[in-house]
């Protein structure tokens, strides 16, 4: 079926496009976008009336956990991709910390095959850095590249050994694919459950200091300089990490970084149930809220401000959800015993738009950080082996001939977050009960509707 998205506000930062008008998708590809002068395509179209709505390239998530294989009680590729579609994401890069982990061709192919048969958006698995995520020996990165991974990560675990990290970076040079590190000095963060700061002191919880992240960010940057390889820092959460990244970029190193919606919008005080800063809280239903337990932890307001600034000056390249679904049992327990993670795909846009509505972030910048900037991070650079990217050309953009991946959202529609209506199996969200402004109305993948809001009605048209 060919699609005509009619009368929307088309925003495509990859080509500086900002216009009201129509967008045509024929045979799964973008074929005509306002304000093109050429003749519009002819034929039968299903019409999405998009007046008053924003029309963007489909969002690309660099970092999510789909849990399959191995943890299907938390999420499956079927449920996770539906959550993605509901959140406006058309491409997911999923982390390899499954059971078994994505450290062999067989598991890569399993994820690809399952995504093909059961998924509703594009899924690209990230491969392991080390065999079995053990941090001891390198995974067969060549085999993984051949099977179709576009990056390597041991996410969930940092690469503890500096020597192994050096070798991973060096070895990756042959394939031109980035190494993504979850930066955490485990000796420093040991047993920590939240940010080290006044809230942790007040609640008697063991803290994870900012230095636990910064020490490894500094190490990784030094190793990126030593090896000349591409390094991508996952979920940056502290002002200190931002400073280190800024210096690395000033030096011209091949270092990129991402930040999550929750680190941009929430602070450590959320663990006490508060999102604004007031000193004297009394115990509420949200004290020790395990839905605000995430790694890296929600940090201070100073850190949050630094992350926002870094996003604006491109020190941080992209926004990634770190969607980490868990079961109720994983979260309904003692704070120390609860799992780390937030189920974030379905709330990402709504909470990021709160930054736009409050004047903290520009809408175009936000869209570029969700679309073409993440794609640029995954471009393969100077690979002498397996130089073909598994990602098709044209993700994150609405240029002619690009895949017909489009996200359509209403920036001012208000809704209340109800985890029971999530498509994700993970109901673990710190936004439960919160009113968000901005909701996805339709998500199109290769010209097919992967998601449509009930209130949106399609019409037929032929020309």
């Amino acid at each position: 079926m060919n699609l005509l998205i009619k009368g929307g506000h088309i925003l495509d930062p990859s080509q500086g496009l900002d216009a009201i008008g129509d967008l045509y998708i024929v045979e799964g590809k973008i074929t005509w976008v306002e304000p093109l002068k050429e003749k519009r395509p002819l034929g039968k179209f299903a019409v999405i009336p998009a007046s008053g709505l924003l029309v963007c390239p489909g969002f690309v998530d660099l970092h999510c956990h789909l849990r399959q294989p191995g943890y299907e009680d938390k999420e499956t590729i079927a449920s996770g991709t539906r959550a993605a579609a509901k959140g406006g994401f058309t491409t997911l890069c999923c982390m390899p910390n499954t059971k078994p982990p994505v450290d062999s061709q067989a598991v890569v192919e399993y994820v690809q095959r399952t995504a093909h048969t059961e998924g509703v958006v594009r899924v690209y698995p990230i491969g392991c850095i080390s065999k079995g995520l053990k941090g001891e020996e390198l995974a067969e990165m060549g085999e993984l590249a051949a099977a179709g991974v576009m990056a390597y990560s041991d996410d969930g675990q940092p690469v503890t050994s500096s020597r192994l990290m050096r070798h991973a970076l060096e070895y990756s040079l042959a394939f031109g694919r980035p190494i993504i590190d979850h930066c955490e000095d485990k000796a420093l963060s040991a047993d920590g459950a939240m940010n080290e700061g006044w809230v942790a002191t007040r609640l008697g919880l063991k803290g994870i200091p900012a230095a636990a992240e910064e020490a490894i960010v500094a190490r990784d940057i030094a190793l990126a300089e030593l090896t000349g390889a591409c390094l991508h820092i996952a979920h940056v959460s502290t002002a200190g990490s931002v400073d280190l990244l800024r210096r690395a970029k000033d030096k011209g190193l091949a270092v990129t970084a991402e930040v999550t919606p929750h680190h941009l919008t929430l602070t450590e005080e959320r663990v006490m149930g508060f999102s604004t800063q007031t000193a004297h809280h009394t115990a509420s239903a949200l004290w020790y809220d395990t839905n605000a337990k995430v790694n890296p932890p929600l940090r201070s307001e100073k850190d949050r401000q630094a992350l926002l600034e870094a996003l604006k000056d491109d020190t941080i390249d992209a926004i990634a959800t770190d969607h980490a679904p868990h079961t109720i049992v994983d979260k309904l327990c003692e704070f120390d015993a609860a799992a780390f993670g937030i189920s974030g795909l379905e709330t990402a846009l709504g909470c990021l738009l709160s930054l736009v509505h409050s004047g903290q972030l520009d809408l175009k910048l936000l869209i570029s950080k969700l679309t073409w900037e993440p794609v640029r991070i995954l471009e393969i650079k100077k690979a002498s082996l397996f130089p073909t990217s598994p990602l098709p050309w044209g993700l994150g953009t609405l240029q002619m001939g690009a895949p017909g991946d489009v996200t359509i959202f209403d920036p001012s529609k208000e809704w209340v977050v109800n985890p029971n209506t999530f498509a994700s199996k993970g109901k673990n969200t710190p936004w439960a009960g919160c009113q968000l402004k901005g909701q996805v109305m339709a998500t199109v993948v290769a010209g097919n509707l992967a998601y449509r809001d009930d209130s949106l009605r399609l019409e037929g048209q032929s020309a």
Binding site: G204, A283, E334, F335
Partner: protein, 324 residues
């Protein structure tokens, strides 16, 4: 009962002292006075809580706190059920939510909970209709201990406002210290924390004011030199030092700790003559405190234990609605 006129308790749970006002603490003192009067009678029992069931649920061994609550409940005529993590009812693997819901369904009126992880009493209060009293959770809070400390100070020195109270030792891991910081500050005492920097939370050593200049903690003085901290002190609270702190890399040796932070007679002489020596127990005599000081004329450790029962009677009375 006489206390009827004294208190109208709104508080359904007692989790920490951080939101208690001076007036509310004074009200608890008045109720405790009435309970002490009961304890001084020939028959030290009243039927105030007859028909009520109090469950003590202890995930961490603490004979003295459990027995203190048990006696308090029995003195008020309540039935007491003791559940510890070694008994079948808190079998390994059973979730704490299931355990607490079971106890509620079985008809408990109050749960007195001790847990090694911070926040568990809060979790219970969020999920249960019945009252929850925190008998100590992780490094978070131990409100009944702080209240009995405050009560003992008031009883011995007549007032709390304006007193210099030094808390010595492992502040970092101490729920007793944390609750006392809130309670003492609410009552107008000047609180001095003393210990090696590794055992004092960074946030208390280097407080960062929040946006708007507010401070998330009451005003505190940090003094790493115990001799100096003790000058002009009215009260010295000594905390128990866990021997594991050395293995955790927080202390070089017990020997050095003793040299720098043990409360001995020579050091105590720097404090006021009337200064009280307190300890939440159990004491490591010879480590954080010398036997001479622990059992000397200034020690009020035994009064703390006695007052503990009366304070806990007051708390049980209050959370059950204060109806006599």
């Amino acid at each position: 009962m006489r206390t009827n006129s004294l208190i109208k308790m709104e508080r359904h749970h007692i989790i920490d002292l951080d939101d208690f006002s001076q007036e509310e603490i004074a009200l608890i003192f008045a109720t405790t006075d009435a309970m002490k009067e009961i304890l001084s009678r020939e028959i030290r029992r009243v039927p105030t809580l007859r028909g009520k069931t109090i469950v003590t649920l202890f995930y961490e061994p603490s004979t003295r706190t459990r027995v203190s609550f048990e006696l308090a409940a029995k003195n008020l005529g309540a039935d007491v059920v003791n559940v510890t993590s070694s008994t079948a009812s808190v079998a390994k693997g059973e979730s704490i939510i299931d355990t607490m819901r079971t106890l509620e369904a079985l008809g408990a009126d109050v749960i007195v909970i001790r847990h090694f992880q911070s926040g568990v009493p809060c979790l219970m209060a969020q999920h249960l209709q019945i009252s929850v009293i925190n008998a100590g959770d992780g490094c978070h809070a131990h409100p009944s201990q702080a209240l009995l400390d405050l009560y003992t100070i008031r009883e011995k020195l007549g007032h709390i406002e304006g007193l210099k109270v030094v808390i010595v030792g492992d502040i970092l891991h101490s729920r007793v210290a944390r609750s006392n910081i809130w309670g003492l500050s609410a009552m107008g005492a000047q609180v001095v924390l003393c210990g090696p920097p590794t055992l004092i939370p960074q946030e208390l050593r280097r407080p960062q004011p929040l946006k708007g200049g507010e401070c998330p903690f009451p005003p505190l003085t940090i003094q790493e030199n115990l001799d100096r901290a003790l000058e002009e002190a009215d009260v010295v609270m000594v905390l128990r030092l866990q021997k594991e702190r050395q293995e955790g890399g927080l202390l070089p040796s017990l020997r050095e700790y003793i040299q720098l932070y043990q409360l001995n007679s020579a050091r105590l002489s720097r404090a006021h003559l009337h200064a009280l020596v307190m300890h939440p127990g159990p004491m490591n005599e010879g480590i954080e405190i010398t036997p001479e000081v622990a059992h000397g004329p200034q020690s009020v450790v035994e009064d703390q234990v006695t007052n503990g029962v009366a304070v806990r009677m007051a708390l049980l009375y209050m959370v059950t609605g204060g109806k006599g």
